[in-house]
């Protein structure tokens, strides 16, 4: 119960920060928006929108959105100046923003004020240097906040280090100099983490790049070959490869959430009985 509450607090806190940050105006807001098309741009004055047709492209600063057709919706101020509020891309969507690339979207909607993308498709791939995030339903990307949410058989891969799967994965990126690195990953529903020597399963997971530790919550199962450990909470050290299976922190009903293990051939290090 506590675990769920703890995770919910982290999740809500994360998104409340995101939401509040959306209100803060970004410096990128002042950059002009350029719309290109090979087969013309239609201006629908009644609907207050532009439609770019054929190899359509929208560029704003470092951001580029490409697609076959792009619709840009605007609002007019009292001086009849147009302000693009929303951009929708149809078919073969490609987004690039500095070192981030998103491909495979059927449609994408970009809310300019929030600096937020929602990409829909069944094979969406977000890459950031050596990190890859896949989704089979939807990808959301808070551009200025460096957060991506993958929904639908989501997979986060870091070459030669780990692979995290889940119904929903939340990626936090950070820019250090010219590099863009994954800072934190949160996984929800049927989460699995594969390292070089084992696989861990849980309901939810939280990976922290700084500590190189992945915390697993709810229905945890650590598997190495045919051996496995069961519990409610675990910590997987991705750097050392050591996994610790523990009861849920500060759990009142300790006995009920006792750690169970089935060890076959090679042992798995456990903290059975410890807090």
């Amino acid at each position: 119960m506590f675990n769920k509450f703890f995770f919910l607090v982290i999740f809500l806190l994360d998104f409340s920060i995101l939401s509040s940050q959306e209100i803060i105006s970004s410096s990128k807001e002042d950059e002009p928006i350029e719309i290109y098309a090979d087969n013309g741009i239609e201006w629908h004055k009644n609907e207050k929108k532009y439609i770019a047709i054929g190899n359509a492209k929208v560029i704003s600063g470092s951001l580029t959105l490409e697609s076959r057709i792009i619709e840009a919706f605007y609002e007019e101020n009292s001086n009849s100046e147009m302000d693009i509020k929303k951009v929708i891309a149809f078919k073969d969507v490609k987004i690039s923003d500095e070192k981030i690339r998103i491909t495979g979207g059927k449609t994408a909607e970009y809310n300019i004020k929030k600096d937020y993308f929602q990409i829909v498709g069944n094979k969406i791939i977000l890459t950031s240097e050596s990190n890859i995030l896949n989704a089979k339903k939807k990808m959301e990307y808070w551009r200025s906040k460096n957060v991506a949410v993958a929904t639908g058989d989501a997979v986060a891969i870091k070459k030669d280090e780990f692979e995290i799967k889940g119904e929903k994965l939340v990626w936090h990126l950070e820019k250090i100099g010219d590099e863009t690195k994954v800072k934190k990953i949160m996984g929800f529903e049927n989460v699995s983490i594969q390292t070089n020597n084992e696989v861990a399963f849980s309901d939810k997971a939280l990976y922290n790049k700084k500590k190189e530790i992945c915390k697993l919550f709810g229905n945890v199962r650590l598997q190495k070959g045919d051996s496995f450990l069961l519990g409610e909470y675990a910590e997987v050290d991705l750097k050392s490869g050591i996994s610790k299976l523990m009861p849920a922190p500060k759990k009142s009903n300790f006995a009920e959430d006792r750690v169970k293990a089935l060890i076959n051939k090679e042992g798995v290090e456990t903290n059975e009985g410890s807090n």
Partner: protein, 195 residues
């Protein structure tokens, strides 16, 4: 003596008669000759046909043509000078033409250096420094455009540059469907919106 007098008199009459016949023939010849000479138009080597807007017979100064389209909405064509292309047909070559069409609450304006206005077909073709605008919101420039008052269409096949407050557009042509209040910028196009 009397007979000699009669002879000289008849000779004079005869000569006079022939003279009058020759004179009358001369007058008739000159009459026809002069008539032909009135029809002759001296050819001027320096006069060249510039385009389809040239060659005309009548000239109107500051004409204003006003009409109604199918929806009974007014349109207006004016020019600094107009000349009929042919006597029987109402087609005019225009200098500094201006077209104006009302669509619902909006008024569109089109102007250029030269124009051709086909009154029966209700279209205005413009060439040279063509500017299309609605005066308050946007305007764009091109080298050639056609305004079809019947179909409520404005077309252009040449490069277009447009402005509207904080936005600019470049394209290879344009088409304005006034019924749908829609402007299509054709071919490779670029739109820039500044904040």
């Amino acid at each position: 003596m009397i007979s000699i007098q009669k002879l000289s008199y008849s000779l004079v009459v005869k000569i006079l008669k022939y003279f009058l016949v020759v004179l009358s023939l001369g007058i008739i010849f000159l009459t026809f000759y002069n008539k032909n000479s009135l029809n002759f138009v001296p050819k001027n080597d320096n006069e060249k046909v510039i385009d389809e807007f040239s060659s005309s017979s009548q000239v109107l100064l500051g004409p204003i043509f006003i009409g109604l389209d199918k929806k009974k909405q007014p349109y207006k064509v004016s020019a600094s000078k107009a000349s009929k292309v042919e006597d029987s047909i109402e087609i005019f070559n225009l200098e500094n033409p201006k077209g104006e069409i009302v669509n619902n609450e909006e008024i569109y304006h089109l102007q250029g250096n030269k124009g051709l206005f086909d009154k029966p077909k209700q279209f205005l073709k413009l060439k040279g420094n063509v500017v299309f605008s609605d005066k308050e919101m946007f305007s764009f420039e091109t080298s050639e455009a056609t305004m079809d008052f019947k179909k409520k269409l404005v077309l252009g096949q040449e490069k277009v540059t447009g402005k509207k407050k904080n936005s600019t557009i470049l394209s290879e042509g344009f088409e304005i469907e006034q019924k749908k209040n829609k402007i299509i910028f054709k071919g490779k196009s670029k739109l820039v919106l500044r904040k």
